[in-house]
């Protein structure tokens, strides 16, 4: 499978990573970031559990994050 980025960032000098790609949809980026921050900063789960599930998810999906 190709590993060449399939979407270009708004800023042509930036790397094609999730954050730079989101620049194409600023309002979507704000909404996503707000949810992500809330998810990590509050809630009934401890951080170890959250990070463990995130890591396992990333392994299974071959995600680089």
């Amino acid at each position: 499978m190709s590993v060449v980025p399939r979407l270009d960032p708004v800023n042509p000098t930036a790397r094609s990573i999730f954050g730079s790609i989101l620049g194409h949809q600023p309002e979507l980026a704000v909404a996503f970031s707000s949810l992500y921050a809330e998810f990590w900063n509050r809630g009934v789960l401890d951080h170890v559990t959250k990070e463990t599930t995130r890591l396992r998810n990333a392994r299974i999906t071959d995600c680089g994050y």
């Binding site: 499978m1 060449v4 194409h24 949809q25 979507l28 909404a31 996503f32 707000s34 949810l35 809330e38």
Partner: protein, 147 residues
């Protein structure tokens, strides 16, 4: 943080977001805002078509509308545009095996949509996939995915 107006409007619909509110109330307004933004940003009928196809693949309850039938047979349907068929093709591959999404599929997307539109389409696919599965595994309200 105050709930965004758009989230209030979205959540006022009794069909929307009840599941997430019940599970994690503090996340609800943020989830609603994100879903609303993704819905608004997706071009044309893409959001509706994606929601339908995700629901079909996850075996969520469906209707017998002509559009629902067309989406189920998208590859041969005369009622869908070429652009919509490309969106449904990548939606299907995203759910069944995301590693099977190809450069060729992206090239076809780029023939019909701008980069911001492609981003919105993929966000909508990801949200429908994630929240549809969340509803499925928790046996909560059996509505159409998250939308």
């Amino acid at each position: 943080m105050a709930m965004p107006v758009i989230a209030k409007v979205w959540m006022a619909n009794p069909k929307n977001d009840k599941n997430v509110v019940e599970l994690q109330p503090h996340l609800a307004p943020f989830v609603a805002a994100l879903q609303s933004r993704a819905l608004e940003a997706a071009p044309g009928r893409c959001a509706e078509l994606i929601s339908m196809r995700v629901g079909q693949i996850l075996h969520l309850p469906s209707s017998d509308t002509a559009l629902e039938v067309a989406v189920g047979e998208w590859y041969a349907s005369p009622d869908l545009t070429d652009a919509e068929k490309v969106v449904l093709e990548i939606t299907e591959q995203f759910l069944v095996d995301v590693h099977g999404v190809t450069d060729e599929m992206f090239a076809k997307l780029k023939e019909h949509f701008t980069t911001p539109e492609i981003l919105a389409i993929l966000f909508h696919v990801a949200l429908c996939d994630g929240f549809g599965k969340l509803n499925l595994v928790t046996h909560l309200e059996k509505n159409r995915g998250a939308f």
